[in-house]
């Protein structure tokens, strides 16, 4: 019997929601304000002369269209790559967990999940330098993929646990080999968990800051998050444009999330509880 929420519940929930959402509202309002309305002692919610100059300035003068493209390339590539790897590894984790080699790999993955990127920053930087892939999409794609592999694998494997083995036995009788079974029989019914895993990988790559900041110094390959940081360094006072850049950076993740939140939340709690 769930208790019905009283008026107090609603008030508290509203307060918490305001706390969570207000910064975005303020970001949006500020991004649409002209400069003289930004720099006033008394901030207003109503914009007298709404304008898109901040957006056009950021997008075309500050080169953010390029940064958005870079971020998209890196995030989509990292997302697809980690999905493919996680599907293969997750399937084995789910079906052959008794094998010793699988057990060891599982442990290895659990441990790697615990090791934070910042502690490995220097050797990663040097490794990328050694392979000559600093200043390229590849360095970021590889780094982002690696650090989401463990969680994505756990998310996929806990989904595969729920797929009945009978399905595979039937496919085997029909003469499918294991790979065919996985890709032709199991994956088509796994769309929801594929979506949630892919979303996690995409959002993680899209939001990442440190590797993008350290590995890339040329503008040609710079991604969105370091670009915002550097833009701030160069224009400390131009808050309108900074807020416009921030709005641009959160549009894709927010849209994706609003459309697909059901999948995302379920997958996330599966993966984290298991990991």
């Amino acid at each position: 019997m769930k208790k019905k929420g009283g008026i107090g519940t609603y008030i508290l929930l509203t307060l918490i929601s305001i706390y969570c959402v207000f910064p975005f509202l303020w970001m949006l309002i500020s991004s649409l304000k002209p400069l003289d309305e930004i720099r006033t002692k008394v901030p207003h919610f109503v914009i007298n002369h709404p304008t898109f100059t901040n957006f056009t300035k950021v997008l075309f003068d500050a080169g953010f269209t390029k940064y958005i493209r870079n971020s998209l390339i890196v995030s989509v590539a990292a997302c697809l790559l980690s999905l493919l790897i996680a599907v293969c590894a997750g399937y084995v984790f789910s079906r052959y967990f008794r094998l010793r080699v699988v057990k060891y790999s599982n442990f290895f993955m659990l441990v790697s999940q615990m090791i934070p990127g910042v502690l490995l920053l220097i050797p990663l930087y040097l490794t990328m330098k050694m392979f000559g892939i600093l200043e390229s999409y590849l360095s970021l794609i590889l780094a982002y993929t690696t650090f989401v592999i463990p969680l994505c694998t756990f998310m996929m494997s806990s989904f595969f646990d729920t797929v009945p083995i009978a399905l595979e036995e039937a496919a085997e009788l029909d003469g499918y080999n294991k790979l065919q079974t996985l890709f032709k029989i199991i994956l088509p019914i796994s769309i929801p968990s594929l979506i949630s895993t892919a979303l996690y990988a995409f959002i993680n790559a899209w939001n990442e800051f440190m590797f993008g900041y350290v590995f890339i110094s040329s503008e040609d390959y710079r991604t969105l998050t370091p670009a915002i940081m550097l833009f701030k360094g160069a224009n400390t006072v131009d808050w309108g444009s900074l807020m416009a850049a921030s709005v641009i950076a959160i549009v894709p993740v927010t849209l994706i999330f609003l459309l697909l939140q059901r999948y995302f939340l379920a997958g996330l709690s599966n993966g984290s509880v298991k990991g």
Partner: protein, 310 residues
């Protein structure tokens, strides 16, 4: 006849098992290569470099340094303040996130209209890039034009605008506050899932036994949340203590090192002073600390699962 059948069956089993092993290895290989190359190898390298004189610019001068790097780091006048900041930053953040996360999860677990809306609103901070969260809050906290200082002075809570991120007294507290804002939704979602999994008859039994609301919470809800709580608190102790982005975006460790934590020190050693040896020894110390944390976590976890079974 009997014998041959047996042999055939065993032979079949063996090849089947071999097939399974080779299939598994093949499927795991991409993941293992990635992890070995980009986590395993760098990990070994960090621990190795901690004991050598390595410089990013002149990478040839790699003499054995013994514990020299560790001594250098510990003797750094910023080390103890940074250690203290890291501990305060981590503990206060995690406690605040847990309290707020649990509170909001309990509220969301009640029968409320528009639960989907509230859940979405609460989850949004966790989705956005840390850089955006940091940028927006720096703007709102701005001493000259910031909306928060305006509200606070207008409501008479403070007399003068406060430079929240630029004043050594407030900077660390402010970064913690912003970090809690961004991280607590993850607790909400995990704890909400766990709350929804608690069977109703536990509450019924407790209320038949005469337990009031508070006692039900204490003796039914909290114990049921123990293992989820352990996992998320442990993950966040690590995620928070090693967080670089948030503080870098908000204050870059300033003003006057008031928000400098150990990950920022690692960054400074490696990317500003190019002293890979010192950075690696600090990383190694943090890894050691995390391993200790992991041992505690593991002990707690096995204790909890033992108690649940018995």
């Amino acid at each position: 006849m009997d014998n041959s059948k047996k042999v055939r069956r065993f032979g079949f089993l063996r090849t089947r098992k071999q097939r399974e092993i080779s299939f598994s290895v093949g499927m795991l290989l991409p993941a293992l290569i990635f992890l070995a190359a980009l986590i395993g190898y760098p990990l070994v390298k960090v621990i190795h470099d901690a004991f050598y004189n390595v410089n990013l610019l002149t990478s040839t001068s790699a003499g054995f340094a013994g514990l020299g790097n560790f001594r250098k780091v510990i003797a750094d006048p910023n080390f103890y303040p940074a250690l203290r900041h890291t501990i305060v930053w981590t503990l206060v953040s995690v406690v605040g996130e847990y309290v707020l996360g649990l509170g909001s999860a309990i509220l969301l677990n009640k029968k409320v209209k528009g639960r989907a809306f509230f859940r979405m609103a609460i989850f949004i901070p966790w989705l956005v890039p840390i850089i955006v969260a940091g940028m927006t809050w720096s703007w709102m906290l701005n001493p000259d034009y910031g909306v928060i200082n305006y509200f606070l002075t207008h409501l008479g809570i403070i007399k003068e605008p406060i430079n929240f991120l630029g004043d050594t007294h407030y900077a660390l507290g402010t970064t913690i506050f912003v970090n809690i804002w961004r991280s607590f939704p993850y607790y909400t979602i995990s704890l909400l899932a766990a709350l929804q999994a608690i069977p109703d008859d536990l509450y019924e039994a407790a209320s038949i036994d005469g337990a009031g609301k508070f006692n039900q919470f204490l003796h039914v809800t909290l114990p049921q949340l123990r293992s989820v709580s352990l996992v998320i608190v442990f993950i966040h102790l690590i995620w928070t203590s090693i967080n670089f982005d948030f503080i870098w975006v908000l204050t870059q460790g300033g003003p006057n090192y008031a928000t400098e934590t150990l990950p920022l020190m690692i960054y400074r050693y490696s990317m500003q002073k190019f002293d890979v040896g010192a950075a690696s020894s600090l990383s190694t110390m943090m890894l050691l600390g995390m391993s200790l944390l992991f041992v505690f976590y593991y002990k707690f976890k096995s204790k909890i699962s033992e108690e649940t079974i018995s």
